[in-house]
């Protein structure tokens, strides 16, 4: 009790409340006569806990989350703080999968619905959509028992001329047995993107089957007489690998390949880069200078650009040159996944739809054995394996969305929620390190699919500017490569997600979605009225003229007047003026992280309340349309809660 929750931006905004620890969450409930603002944090989200030196006010405890939320608590008694600290350390480091939230999460769906949820994304359907199997590509079940490669799926697509013998032989020559397999096939020109891991070539080793495999890939594209082999590592690293008996393809040994290095740094560099960037985000009152220098020193945007550039190179090779590309890094499950999925996104507008994006992640990340557990710490493991690999991919998508606002069917919130759930372990999609492990754990029978959950709430994730017939949504996207370093922006929506004061106070997306809905409603009404008019005119003589009531389209949307009172509180612009009250009576209460009052737990995004018992699982869409944006169920807007708080306080 009597724990204080501090706000980074304003020390005046410390609130006092009670801290609870449950089996699955940390909960802070604010004291207050009418309001009981709650902040919920899933244990899975906790990245690190820091206990700082006791001060006069108490013992500070910082909880840093994987979704970039930072909770700064001050616990009055040092001993209590220590207890909390020890407990959290244990709770945040589960040892068994069964401890994870997804095994106890209950959205109250029946068995069939759960199954249906898992069937929403079907990779076979996807490969068929691409156009395989066909004359050039076949499906191979050589890995049906994971006997060839235990981090690959049971079904992979390989060139027609790749026999089982070639596949097996090639797999023995590849790190982790990850032989070249199809990631994306371009129907239009037969060019493809294949992925693998590094060859175990050392300085001079060769493997006939592996060479045949690459030939097979080339032959599967009659439109080109060579393929690109793209090694996404920096040249130096790749060369160093040779001393360990691994390395990269020698152009002399493999007929008709053009080899290319695209230097993307490894997981350790990326982990440190993110760390440095987060340190900048945690600075108290940084100057513009501090911020920009800090951002530069972290190198984060440079890495994002490197991944993007690689994707662009591959997309160009496929779309413009009609040449197939084989991509690998070291083990073919990190940089390879990033680069293949960025390239696919650029090439194929399907992946820019909501469903398509889910499919993309399922294909290039989940099925191809990206090590979710190791990378995102589902279970307690080696800290050196942790790295923000998929976060970087998600950011690449966001950067693209900023450059091409009409090209994606989904919005920023979709990306943020996906990132959130990769770490939350509330759903079973991103557990373990491979398909094999997930099957062994029976994930599909014991947990729920995130995709079904997101799909159900898809109205929240739509981009109002998306039109499937728009020029931006068709065909390949062509982002500029150089000179456009300045086009990469710092994603404060993600890395400062919970600091609402930093973001634009008004959401264009939400506004436009509301407009779209209202337009639709009005159009429907118009139709109905026109029908009625027609009927009336038929049944009566022309004397009784019934005017159809055309709604005045220019009337101000009442939707958004309430939004103006949304936490429009001035910051601390000056230290001199300490006498300023922190809120003006004319304006609403300020926003803060994760505001979930008891009232709106029902309508708010169940993602973050994760209060399984209260979750209705059925979104109340009607409240949005009729009252005109009255309660947008998004955990980010916190709009309802502000209003509720404001009205109550």
């Amino acid at each position: 009790e009597n724990v204080r929750l501090l706000d980074r931006l304003s020390s005046r905004r410390a609130v006092v409340g009670t801290l609870y620890l449950t089996a699955t969450h940390v909960i802070f409930v604010e004291n207050g006569s009418d309001t009981r603002k709650e902040t919920w944090v899933l244990h899975s989200q906790i990245s690190s806990i820091e206990k700082q030196a006791t001060t006069a006010t108490g013992c500070p405890l910082l909880i840093r989350c994987k979704n970039f939320q930072v909770i700064h608590l001050v616990i009055p008694q040092e001993r209590d703080c220590h207890d909390v600290y020890i407990s959290l350390i244990r709770l945040a480091r589960p040892v068994k999968y069964e401890e994870l939230y997804c095994f106890s999460f209950n959205p109250k769906l029946d068995k069939e619905e759960r199954e249906q949820g898992w069937k929403l994304v079907d990779l076979n359907e996807e490969y068929n959509r691409m156009g395989v199997p066909n004359n050039y590509w076949q499906i191979s079940d050589v890995n049906r028992d994971y006997g060839v490669c235990d981090s690959y799926p049971t079904e992979v697509y390989v060139p027609k001329s790749a026999t089982a013998h070639i596949i097996v032989g090639s797999s023995k020559f590849r790190s982790r047995r990850r032989f070249p397999a199809l990631s994306y096939y371009c129907k239009g020109n037969n060019a493809s993107i294949c992925r693998s891991s590094q060859p175990l070539s050392g300085f001079s080793a060769r493997c006939l089957e592996d060479e045949q495999m690459l030939q097979a890939i080339r032959k599967a594209n009659p439109g080109s007489d060579f393929i690109y082999v793209v090694d996404t590592r920096p040249k130096l690293n790749a060369m160093a690998n040779r001393a360990a008996g691994k390395g990269y393809e020698n152009e002399d040994n493999y007929s008709n390949i053009k080899f290319q290095f695209i230097g993307i740094e490894n997981i350790h560099v990326m982990r440190n880069s993110l760390q440095k960037m987060l340190e900048v985000c945690e600075l108290k009152s940084p100057s513009m200078s501090d911020f920009l220098w800090g951002l530069e020193n972290s190198g984060w945007l440079k890495h994002i650009k490197a991944i993007m550039d690689a994707g662009i190179f591959i997309a160009k090779a496929v779309a413009e040159e009609g040449v197939s590309v084989l991509v690998h890094c070291s083990d073919g499950w990190d940089r390879t996944a990033q680069v293949c999925s960025v390239a696919s996104l650029l090439l194929d507008p399907y992946y820019r739809t909501m469903k398509g994006f889910m499919v993309l992640i399922e294909k290039d990340w989940v099925s191809f054995g990206h090590k979710f557990n190791h990378r995102y710490g589902n279970l307690d493991g080696d800290p050196k394996e942790i790295s923000p690999v998929i976060d970087q991919f998600i950011e690449c998508v966001w950067q693209l969305m900023e450059q091409f606002p009409c090209a994606f069917e989904f919005n920023e919130r979709f990306l943020i929620h996906i990132q959130h759930h990769i770490y939350s372990c509330q759903f079973g999609n991103f557990l373990c390190n491979s398909q094999k492990e997930r099957r062994e754990l029976n994930i599909k029978e014991r947990t729920y699919s995130l995709w079904a959950h997101l799909w159900k709430n898809r109205a929240d994730y739509l981009n109002p500017l998306y039109r499937s017939d728009h020029s931006q949504t068709q065909g390949t996207l062509h982002p500029q490569i150089a000179p456009c370093n300045f086009l990469y922006k710092f994603w404060s929506g993600m890395y400062n997600r919970f600091e609402k004061g930093l973001h634009p106070r008004q959401s264009v997306t939400d506004y436009l979605m509301a407009v779209k809905e209202e337009t639709q409603q009005l159009e429907e009404e118009l139709e109905v009225l026109q029908e009625r008019l027609a009927n009336l005119q038929k049944s009566q003589s022309g004397n009784n003229k019934v005017k159809s009531k055309q709604q005045d389209r220019s009337k101000q949307f009442g939707l958004y007047t309430s939004n103006n009172s949304l936490a429009n509180t001035p910051q601390e612009y000056s230290n001199d003026l300490k006498s300023f009250p922190s809120r003006s009576p004319s304006q609403g209460d300020e926003d803060s992280a994760l505001i979930l009052t008891q009232d709106n737990l029902k309508s708010s995004d169940p993602d973050l309340s994760a209060n399984s018992d209260q979750e209705s699982g059925v979104e109340d869409l009607s409240c949005r349309s009729s009252s005109g944006g009255g309660c947008l169920p998004s955990e980010d807007s916190g709009k309802d809660s502000d209003e509720a708080v404001f009205l109550a306080g």
Partner: protein, 324 residues
């Protein structure tokens, strides 16, 4: 909200009864006021040597002085030039770009300007106190602060018409020396001592506001770009000369056309209106955290990056709001 130039206190701490009386009349019985001096305390003190200075506490007991150093003059011009140069250079490295952005210090100036304007606005709105803003001459950073403060506080300044009125009052009639400040723009090397992009800084700050409150300004980026263009080179007389006196001597009103008249024509006006606008009666308080202040790409990358996709997005927004 008041503005002036610096008091001519001088090294001998001169007093002026009339000035003290004037400031006295502004405050009601028992009220206090704030003086926002856009120079650092150091600079303001040094100004005394040149005959200028600040309002001494003893002579103006009910006015509390706050210093917020805002850049002006040559350093601001250099900041601008450096940024433009950094944007134009096609280097491959993202890293160095951020360093160059920081090195230009342009965003720091934007942040400082917004922050000072917010401070003034806070004094007015939250403390209910009168505020006097001045720098040295009262023609540069002073106007920046008073104009921005009004945009923050006053919803009527955020309409297209109101904004034009704001510009007329706080920049043109208030005597910002456009002719001296807006002669050559970023390509200006060397001599031009009086050249400084204060007006651009103002427009950048307005853009920052529009980014943070996309529904609250009746006008869009296109207007800001047009205003910038016309401040430097124009077919209209609105931004000519340095002050009202010069305009009167030139017989400006008789011999030129007004930019506002042209802008306000129905066909032209359409281009400048923000389709997302919806009247916001409240004060809009921007965030001045570094993450909230972004590079005004529409201006600085105007001729560098293709705007096709963003233009399409704008068109789509229009289409959605205005109905197909």
């Amino acid at each position: 909200l008041l503005r002036s130039s610096q008091p001519l206190t001088g090294p001998n701490r001169r007093r002026c009864r009339e000035d003290e009386q004037l400031l006295g009349t502004i405050l009601a019985e028992g009220e206090r006021g704030f003086v926002v001096d856009t120079r650092s305390a150091q600079a303001a003190k040094q100004a005394r040597m040149g005959g200028g200075g600040t309002e001494p506490k003893s002579s103006y007991p009910r006015w509390r002085r706050l210093h917020r150093a805002l850049e002006r003059g040559r350093p601001l011009q250099e900041s601008f030039a450096r940024l433009v140069e950094a944007c134009g250079e096609p280097g491959p490295s993202v890293e160095r770009w951020l360093g160059r952005l920081e090195g230009s210090r342009w965003l720091s100036h934007v942040q400082a300007a917004l922050s000072t304007a917010c401070l003034a606005a806070q004094c007015l709105d939250r403390e209910g106190c009168s505020v006097l803003v001045h720098g040295a001459e009262g023609t540069d950073t002073t106007l920046l602060v008073t104009a921005l403060a009004q945009l923050i506080l006053e919803p009527s300044c955020r309409t297209l018409e109101g904004f034009q009125g704001l510009l007329e009052r706080e920049w043109i009639q208030a005597g910002h020396p456009f002719q001296l400040r807006c002669a050559r723009s970023a390509s200006c090397h060397g001599r031009a001592k009086q050249e400084a992009p204060l007006f651009l800084l103002f427009l950048d700050c307005v853009w920052q506001l529009s980014r943070q409150f996309p529904l609250s300004l009746e006008f869009g980026e296109q207007l800001l770009l047009t205003l910038f263009d016309n401040a430097y080179a124009s077919a209209y007389g609105t931004f000519l000369c340095n002050n009202e006196r010069e305009r009167s001597l030139c017989k400006l009103k008789e011999s030129t056309h007004s930019l506002w008249a042209w802008l306000n024509q129905p066909e032209e006006k359409q281009k400048y209106l923000n389709p997302l606008y919806s009247h916001n009666p409240l004060v809009i308080w921007p965030s001045v955290e570094p993450q909230s202040i972004q590079l005004w790409q529409g201006f600085f990358l105007r001729w560098i990056r293709p705007s096709q996709h963003l233009d399409e997005a704008q068109a789509e927004i229009r289409r959605l709001v205005e109905g197909s």
